[in-house]
Amino acid sequence: MSLLNRYWRVALGLVVIAALIIAPMYLNRYGLFILSQWAVMTIAAMGLNLTLGYAGQVSLAQGAFVGIGAYSAAIMTANGMPLIAGLGVAIVLCFAIGWILGYPALRVQHHYLAFVTLAFSTLAFLVFRNESWLTNGIYGISNIPRPTILGYPTNRPLPFYYVCLGSLALVSFATWWLIRSPWGRAFVALRENPVRALSLGIDTRRYTLMAFAIGSALGGVAGTLYAPLTQYIDPVPFNLSLSLDLLMMVIVGGSGFFFGPFLGAMIAVLLPEWLRFTQGYYLMLYAVAVILLLIYSPTGILGILDRYLTERRTKAASALRAVAKSGLEPAP
């Protein structure tokens, strides 16, 4: 049965990937923009999912890292450097700042930690807004160019969408690799029981800082794509509400599930668009939908699936135990 399951899963994955590649060819400019935004926000949410969902460290600063990434990209490319250089700066900068932001997590946890990261989020916003010599303040940076990749310009919406999708694929693979590596296991141990983890030789301090640094770096990667996507940035999109949005994406999708951010970002980016036909009511409907979902399943959308699969597994296991006890042969 698990073999069949596996085939189904691979088949589903291939269909989704094919749809993500082919369907956009028939979308208009706006549709492509929304879908690109989904890919970018998924990357940022994946970073937060690593920090919060896997390693259990609350952060209300992911939006600030998207901002740092976006400004790195905008400033570098506005000065004639290629986007890849901006990406490098964004990753190094966000990794380093994320590492430093991890230090408070060694002392405080949960909502105390949330407050520390919230303060950082505000600080970053103030830098974006007030340090005009660097960021051009409230006037923002415009005409951010889109990159030319292997001699192929990506100015038009469809090619740039593929840049976002390709980046999402790379980040997904790297994150998947990280999560299934011993590091991923150590992150989960950190979330579930740091005292026990420490007694098993797991350097919880180093892993906590790493979880912050890597998660923040992914926020930076998302920002590096965000700047050329919108081609204009100012401080407003990177205020606290982006951090809260990203937090919501992680929780609604399913915190600590690999595919959680994909679904969460889909709901946060696409659902408001689908609800637009209700005109003035769309934000309200959206808010109600999120509340209802979290009442029904506090562990998010993937939590529903997980509950179902766990129940089935427990039933199968207890059936096997009963068979073993009765001394009968299990059915083939």
Binding site: V188, G201, A317
Partner: protein
């Protein structure tokens, strides 16, 4: 014989209370030392001071002759000192096999190889052997949270051995475990002690378990060592009988 663990004059105060009040003893290589005493006499606090979970107010801890007072638990673990806790401490959302791999992974390679190397840190086989050894074979793929209490207790103990420790401190390994499993656990501990020359310190209230497993027993009362001796000597010690064992 050489001392694997030497503790001298360990003290731990919480406010005005001397939870541990000048405890000293040695644990020899290959020994199974029992640590008994009434509830609240400072056994677990002493463990926490030895293992770096708490900073002792005074005194010195040596492992293999090296002073390790105040070392972090993770550093001590990598020096070959492992432990179990009084209350269950498995990772419920990881499978039995994953729990064991987690317990051993930090003893393999370095940070980089743990990131870029194989997912199981090369420990799948060792984990499966440990699973067989503790008779958890049919449960290897199950989530640890779905196991019975006794099975989780066995897993908890098994995890302490994944790093190939020299010294293991077990805090009430028999608590809440049924008789059949208790026999199993005792046999496993004795076997690891015999074959791997692993040294144990065991806190336990189950006297039958302690007296049959341990070569020496330390009795604590009110933060101090009341008596040290072989099980037979302890049984006959009138001070111990008065303070703990009863007539």
């Amino acid at each position: 014989m050489t001392a694997v663990l030497e503790i001298s004059n360990i003290k731990k105060n919480f406010g005005g209370i001397n939870a541990v009040d000048g405890v000293s003893f040695d644990v020899q290589e290959g020994e199974i030392l029992g640590l008994i005493g009434p509830n609240g006499c400072g056994k677990s606090t002493l463990f926490n001071c030895i293992l770096g979970q708490l900073q002792p107010s005074a005194g010195e801890v040596k492992v293999d002759g090296k002073v390790v007072t105040g070392f972090r638990p993770s550093d001590l673990n990598r020096l070959g000192v492992s432990r179990t806790f009084q209350l269950l401490q498995v990772f419920p959302k990881l499978s039995v096999r994953e729990n064991l791999i987690l317990a051993g992974q930090e003893h393999q390679g370095n940070m980089l190889s743990r990131l870029l190397g194989p997912s199981d840190a090369g420990l799948s086989q060792a984990a499966d052997q440990m699973i067989e050894f503790f008779k958890l074979g049919h449960l290897a793929g199950e989530l640890a949270g779905g196991l019975s209490y006794g099975q989780q207790k066995l897993l908890d103990a098994a995890m302490a051995f994944m790093g190939g420790p020299r010294l293991v401190l077990l805090d009430e390994p028999a608590g809440g475990v049924n008789l059949t499993m208790l026999g199993d656990l005792k046999a496993r501990l004795a076997e690891i002690n015999r074959e791997k020359r692993a040294t144990f310190v065991v806190i336990e209230h189950n006297m039958e378990f302690v007296m049959s497993l341990c070569s020496r027993v330390v009795v604590m009362a009110e933060g101090k060592v009341l008596a040290i001796g072989t099980p037979a000597e302890i049984r006959a010690n009138s001070a111990v009988i008065d303070a703990y064992l009863g007539h």
